[in-house]
């Protein structure tokens, strides 16, 4: 069995020629309105356990965002792009994936990474400035957080394609039916890589779900300057995949659409593009000053659509959330926050010798020379530090270069470059 032959959609109604569309575009177009479950009958008839489960994850997620933001103020994180307000997207993205599936997060998606099981300290290693990726991608089946926008969407296609190839080569392999979920922002959809990813996925019929968290802004740039499309979900038709539009602040709707999309991909029916309409309630990162580009009124308006309060209101209205449960959840959230703080206390410094260890499988002779140079320098520094341990007044040339770096973290943050 070959995958590539398989990739020509069975619903093609003709080949290139003068016969018009090769497939009917209608089923690919998103609904006119974003899917909502909260406030509809479906919310009432749906599984109450799921709703409560989602709510508890939102509570933890919110607390995670708050703790991380606090850590930036303490200078313990170099930077943190909070997903506050987008927790419904983050936690459902992690929930709907099976164990063998892969998540391709972007730099704002630390919470999704934690929700899939990575220890907070490891998920935040990048933001700490400690090392580039603090977790083992293979242990959790999560690619490193991607900073260059939309690049990870292409990787998701390649991985999903490879999984199909390997499953085809050995149908009994446990790797069968892997789905990749790629997270992209509304701004990221403008990058060429986004386009190439969607096109490759559709042509290869790769099992990928592209979830665009449309939070209305790319740093300061509002959606209206990013695209003139009816919706971002409408882009799907241009690739021949279905586009779905969903209320990203409705955890029940998010869960439903992502579950359906993952099932679609897993069934071999090709990729799906999901646009979740949401809002980032905090600034772009702690280094950003959001008042420069949006009004307090706009933010306040979106606070009324906070995914937590909406789900909480629903649960309370239907007697599915008692004060006791709410208190228990709040306590769990505090535990999580305390655990994060403890992990930060205990976290070791990075070892400078690691700089040369993983450039190649085996260091080149040039790197060995350079590593030796650094080793010698470190040894000298250690000696010097020992000699001077009682004297804090000395001029340590070797530390000079670090001053700039360390210095930055303490300064006023507006205009520090939003280092994400």
């Amino acid at each position: 069995m070959t995958i590539v032959h398989d990739s020509v959609p069975t619903d093609l109604v003709g080949s290139v020629g003068l016969r018009g569309p090769r497939r009917d575009p209608a089923p690919l177009l998103p609904d006119a309105e974003p899917l909502r479950v909260l406030g509809t009958r479906a919310a009432v008839t749906g599984d109450p356990d799921l709703a409560l489960d989602l709510y508890s994850r939102l509570v933890l997620g919110r607390r995670f965002n708050r703790q991380a933001t606090t850590l930036t103020r303490q200078g313990r994180l170099a930077v943190y792009p909070a997903s506050t307000g987008q927790e419904a997207c983050q936690v459902t993205a992690a929930m709907v994936l099976a164990d063998q599936d892969w998540l391709f997060p972007s730099y704002r998606d630390t919470l999704a990474v934690v929700a899939r099981g990575v220890a907070p300290i490891d998920a935040l290693t990048l933001m700490r400035g400690h090392s580039h990726c603090g977790y083992d991608p293979y242990e959790h089946r999560i690619a490193p957080l991607a900073t260059p926008l939309a690049t990870q969407a292409v990787h998701a296609v390649g991985l999903a394609h490879a999984a199909r190839l390997r499953a085809a080569a050995d149908p009994r392999a446990s790797a069968a039916n892997v789905v990749a979920l790629a997270l992209v922002g509304d701004g990221g959809t403008s990058e060429g890589d986004f386009h190439e990813a969607l096109n490759f996925a559709a042509v290869l019929r790769a099992p990928v779900v592209f979830l665009v968290q449309n939070n209305g802004y790319a740093i300061s740039v509002p959606l209206a300057k990013q695209t003139a499309a009816p919706t971002l979900a409408h882009k799907a038709v241009g690739y021949g995949m279905p586009g779905r539009l969903v209320d990203g602040n409705d955890a029940l709707a998010m869960h439903q659409v992502l579950t359906e999309s993952v099932a679609h991909a897993r069934a071999g029916r090709g990729p799906v593009l999901v646009e979740a309409i949401t809002y980032r309630l905090e600034a772009h990162t702690n280094a950003d000053d959001a008042t420069r580009y949006r009004s307090a009124a706009e933010v306040d308006d979106w606070r009324t659509r906070d995914p937590l309060t909406r789900l909480e209101a629903h649960l309370r209205a239907h007697g599915q959330l008692t004060d006791a449960t709410a208190e228990r959840l709040a306590a769990q959230a505090e535990e999580l926050a305390a655990e994060i703080r403890a992990q930060f206390e205990a976290a070791p410094e990075p070892d400078p010798r690691s700089l040369f260890a993983h450039v190649y499988a085996t260091p080149t002779s040039q790197l060995r020379e350079q590593a030796a140079d650094l080793d010698a320098r470190l040894a000298l520094d250690a000696e010097f530090a020992a000699d001077n341990s009682h004297n804090f007044d000395h001029t340590d040339h070797a530390d000079h270069a670090a001053e700039g770096a360390g210095g930055q973290l303490d300064r006023d943050h507006d205009g520090r470059g939003d280092l994400r």
Partner: protein, 350 residues
């Protein structure tokens, strides 16, 4: 000849003779940050030349993530300072089309590593258009690239990419190390009829200094004279080299320091003279050493000054590794100690 062509071939508006960028009355030597000086250079260019247009990510209401374009959209309107969609090839490609029609676009790449998506447009069109058209179509585009490390940036925010630019014929590549030069070089870049990549050392963005004159593209400047050996450097490493020179005094060495400013065109005259004067030289830069611009400098200085050299030209550079995470970057960056070590290795006991 269309109107557009006529505009393109007109001499570019060069900065006027008045005290640059300062409100009337302010003393000419007012000290300001590099960010502010760059901002003033943009403002003065927008004011002096109606064909100047800024475009990039977040350059409008936000004023850029480093605030270099602060206030410009408000003052000159969104047509002159345009927030684009988030796509670097789109930004540079659009700038190419604008330049074809007689405008002088100034493009901001948000960070060094985020210029890479624009490399096809840069290498295959920006660098080559004048040549491809036998001189008929010039692309007077300025590409501003905040570059280098030392600011605690997470991965992909601290690359030193100047060697890629400098190896591409058709581009000018300049990099200021002082506040004065940041103003002067940016104005000169915008006034140039050739495309210019302005590598802005982000670790020096918040240094302060006086604002004086324009800086010519293509001329290095001797920042410190000396007799023992010559440090050749640019951009973010200049302050380290000056500090190393001061520290070396204690050890009995009198180091000259040359600030290259312009990587392309390269100022062979100034550099060779400075190296001949001491007979020893060290190139210092942040970028990885292998295939870095320091190699070119060492090679050409050696070609030109071979018999005046008492020792090989040495290099103190970033290691040949991906840029490290913030907590480790101090080990990677050229430091005073590493420079002093190199000075010691300049074969004094021959």
């Amino acid at each position: 000849m269309s109107g557009a062509a006529a505009v393109t071939s007109e001499p570019a508006g060069t900065p006027a003779g008045r005290p640059v960028g300062l409100p009337a009355g302010e003393p000419a030597a007012t000290s300001m940050t590099m960010v502010k000086a760059l901002n003033l250079a943009l403002r003065d260019s927008l004011r002096d030349d109606p064909t100047v247009h800024i475009l990039g990510e977040d350059v409008g209401a936000l004023g850029g993530v480093f605030r270099v374009t602060d206030g410009l959209a408000a003052e000159f309107g969104p047509d002159r300072c345009l927030d684009t969609p988030l796509a670097e090839a789109g930004i540079l490609g659009t700038a190419i089309g604008m330049a074809m029609y007689g405008l002088r676009p100034v493009v901001e790449m948000q960070f060094d590593a985020f210029a890479y998506p624009a490399f096809e447009q840069l290498f295959s069109h920006v660098a080559k258009m004048r040549n491809r058209t036998g001189g008929r179509m010039a692309l007077p585009i300025t590409i501003r690239v905040p570059y280098g490390g030392g600011v605690g940036g997470v991965e992909h925010h601290s690359d030193s990419s100047e060697a890629y630019y400098a190896h591409t014929p058709g581009l000018h590549v300049v990099t200021p190390a002082t506040v004065a030069d940041s103003y002067g070089l940016l104005r000169a870049a915008i006034a140039s009829d050739d495309p210019v990549v302005l590598c802005e050392p982000k670790r020096l963005y918040w240094t302060t200094g006086p604002l004086e004159e324009t800086a010519p593209i293509g001329r290095a400047v001797v920042r410190r004279t000396g007799t023992s050996a010559t440090l050749l450097t640019y951009g973010p490493s200049l302050p380290i080299c000056l500090e190393a020179a001061r520290a070396a005094e204690e050890e009995g060495f009198d180091l000259a320091v040359v600030d290259l400013r312009s990587l392309v065109p390269f100022d062979d005259e100034t550099v060779s003279a400075a190296v001949r004067a001491t007979g020893r030289a060290i190139v210092v830069h942040e970028a990885s050493g292998f295939g870095g611009i320091g190699a070119e400098i060492a090679a050409r200085v050696t070609e030109r000054c071979f018999h005046q050299l008492a020792a090989p030209v040495l290099r103190v550079t970033g290691y040949d590794i991906p840029y490290p995470p913030p907590m480790l970057e101090k080990h990677h960056l050229p430091s005073v100690d590493r420079i002093l070590d190199a000075v010691a290795r300049l074969q004094w006991e021959q």
